[in-house]
């Protein structure tokens, strides 16, 4: 991968830092636009959801096991279990289902 990898990492780091630093040092007045506020509010949910599905189904060796893990993770997340709990139990479900099939 070599140099190309470091360019990728630099691009990631610079873009991410600029996003974090510019509003903190430049914006002095409040954003008034309700549309922009709502848009920014929804961004993390839309981004994380689009990254999760359907990619989650292909994250392990077996689609069926991943689907089981996905279902269990949905239930646990709905019950508002912690991030670590949801992640670990979802992995455990995949491990068990992959042993059974």
């Amino acid at each position: 991968m070599g140099v190309k990898l470091y360019i990728y990492i630099a691009v990631m780091a610079v873009v991410t830092y600029l996003i974090r630093v510019l509003p903190l040092v430049l914006f002095k007045k409040e954003i008034k636009s309700r549309f922009v506020k709502r848009f920014l509010y929804y961004v993390p949910y839309a981004a994380l959801a689009s990254m999760t599905f359907p990619a989650i189904l292909y994250a392990t060796d077996s689609v069926a096991a991943a689907a089981c893990g996905f279902a269990v993770a949905l239930v646990l997340a709905w019950k508002e279990k912690s991030m670590v709990t949801v992640a670990i139990v979802a992995c455990a479900v995949v491990f068990i289902v992959e042993r059974l099939i």
Binding site: Y8, T16, M51, F53, V86, C91, V94
Partner: protein, 233 residues
Amino acid sequence: MEKIKQYRQGARDGIPIALGYFAVSFAFGMMAVTGGLSALEASLISLVNVTSAGQFAGLQIIFAGGTYLEMALTQFVINLRYALMSFSLSQKLDRSESFACRYLAAFGVTDEIFGITASKKDTPSVFYMYGAMSVAIPGWVLGTFFGGVSGAILPHAVLSALGLAIYGMFLAIIIPPAKHERDVAAVVAAAFFLSALLYYVPALSFISSGFAIIIVTVAISAGAAALCGDSGK
């Protein structure tokens, strides 16, 4: 001294964050090494980015050999939420402190550090953020490193199962708010649907996964903002 007190308080509040980071970045480190990076390269990504979703998407672009523009745009869209958090902090942080401190504090604007800083009852200090960062960021980087190193020695069955970890974490972030807010539930459902559409419809398969995330995020968020603009908070 007030600065030291704030720093200590931040460091203490950063401990549970560091533990959570360790578990999640462990999965990131494994994923990176499985894809062909070294544990140190993965740790470097974690050290200079400190962002779970952004790094995860970035990894996919690196593995797919995407363009630098695609990388920049993906990071921009996925991490755009930090702009909102930084904006919020720009109004809240103690104005009597040196403005230059904010250039360093900005580096620590993550979902979790923002969360504890913004929800403080008294006026938050950049030194509180420094304290939280000094504990949480090492947790993030060390988790990545150990995940990367043990990824090479763990049996394949375990690695396969751990592939679900990062998604479990994402679901734990997006589902509870979706349960309480109907508009967020609609955003999540619509994003699942549109993302699946882009993935499965053959005519749309030329769209890379990085751009698919951008398209879905911008389209769904803008649509929801337009529809919920009047009723929103």
